[in-house]
Symmetry: C2
Subunit: 297 residues, 2 copies
């Protein structure tokens, strides 16, 4: 058996068109409706600049106004907080995204929590996390990577309720929220983390219907420990040596694709799986925010 | 094999003495040091009155000043919020406990979140829950039942790191926070909930080194699905018909004690297991709060 490949590029391209059409429709019916995202970049990290550029490009493709506020790397925490406070008050702005990491002299948590919940389209604030965690609550925004993964699973008609789910990794951005979201969808979820033993990894993965790996370690999941027919979602972005490449390395996920594709039922590739979903969910969250602000949601 | 019984009464009595001695010592060295808990009771529910009385009695036993603020069941939400705001500002008050449930015209979540984080010794506020949930954060207060369970396990030298842990139930007060706390202690945790199938319950419980049940259903955990030697913690409080009792019913937990005691390594009884730990942790949290306020922590 060979797994069917979950095409993150196609799923995200589809959603991108939907978002673009939705915005166009809304603008025709509601003159003045204009979703707007402000990205705050502090300093000049080249990797951050690439991510910011990608997000701005995606915004323009769907009709979201994307604005980059680039600040000096030496800006004080107070000045940055004042900047965020002003954007919180600006009613034309629907999403505020602070590109991480921030310079070391700035408290990331403080800054992340300073973004008004209504505009926290990254969903990283404590109040948003609390709402994900609480059984009875629904968050205003689901963080983009977990949201993208749940959307993918739904698009692929993967049943979650009543299934065994393993989430490897417990970060505040991916593993933690995702485990809770899949539990809220009815999955029985086990979180594998750095203190889990190799025997535990093998035991739980070999009994899982859905396996998500977000640990940042190449070959963490191999075909020999998979349950036949399982759905495998690879969130990892790792680089391994590869002499056949000009750069001497190649990008890969946490999942040993070649062995897993023989055993799994469905599997995401890296690149082209989860990655494209994350960016598109930023747009989706900005759209939701602007609809909410306009009383259209 | 017969399990050893975890004696919640003895463990809590022990901790009670420690708290009382700690307060006495602190008062000798710091004249004016006086931990104070305010309990707000709205209305006259008889069960609430019993719980409140128990807590006040426990306070007086260890040297905590316990004050009951009893409010009319018809009080408006605004008046209740104003009352809480005043207590938030009162520096002689170290803990504020709003006895739940509140009358239906009052938004419990709003009220719970109105208690200042420093005085939220129940640990139910969203910011506290977020801190439990976040990998990198530590909550100011751990909710009393989960805190009592972790303390019990530690007193009984039960290893958590590297072990399979099953938590049945995912409430915001017990199951949810407890699962996260045990995960932070290194356990590999699976949450069983209302959407889990009987097969999933059996599969995960029969492979678990530690099983906690907090679902509120008698005989939910039976000996035939336990792993021999497992530690079993019973958080349930249920009433089942019993003709031999004057009241016609008897209190029991979620765990079928008679069959489980034959298989488990350690087990908590009901009553006399988790119950006594919860009240004592209210006192422990008030003590922590008063030490923090006095700069002694």
């Amino acid at each position: 058996m060979t797994a069917s490949i979950i095409d993150g590029k196609a799923i995200s391209a589809d959603l991108r068109s939907k978002i673009a059409n939705d915005i166009k429709d809304l603008q025709e019916k509601n003159p003045g409706f204009q979703p707007k995202l402000v990205i705050i970049q502090v300093g000049e990290r080249p990797d951050s600049s690439i991510y910011v550029r990608m997000k701005l490009k995606s915004c323009s493709e769907v009709g979201i106004e994307g604005v980059l506020v680039k600040l000096d790397g030496k800006i004080s925490q107070e000045e940055l907080l004042a900047k965020i406070a002003a954007l919180n008050e600006d009613s034309t702005v629907h999403g505020i995204l602070v590109q991480l990491p921030l310079p070391k002299h700035i408290d990331e948590e403080l800054i992340t929590n300073a973004v008004k919940q209504e505009k926290d389209i990254d969903g990283f604030s404590e109040l948003n996390l609390a709402a994900i965690f609480k059984k009875s609550a629904s968050p205003k925004y689901v963080p983009c990577t977990p949201k993208g993964i749940v959307y993918m699973l739904e698009q692929e008609d993967v049943t979650i309720a009543g299934k065994n789910v393993v989430v490897c990794g417990r970060s505040d951005i991916v593993g933690g929220p995702l485990a809770k979201l899949l539990e809220k969808k009815g999955g029985t979820v086990t979180i594998i983390h750095s203190k889990s033993t190799p025997e535990q990894l093998k035991f739980f993965v070999s009994n899982a219907d859905i396996v998500v790996s977000a640990v940042g370690q190449a070959n963490f999941i191999t075909g020999d420990i998979l349950k036949p027919g399982a759905t495998v979602i690879d969130v990892g972005t790792n680089y391994v040596a590869d002499e056949t490449k000009k750069s001497g390395q190649r990008m890969c996920g946490d999942v040993d694709f070649n062995s897993c594709v023989q055993v799994a039922g469905k599997i995401t590739p890296v690149p082209g799986g989860v990655g494209p979903m994350t960016v598109i969910m930023v747009l989706q969250n900005v759209l939701e925010s602007s609809k909410r602000a306009a009383g259209l949601l």
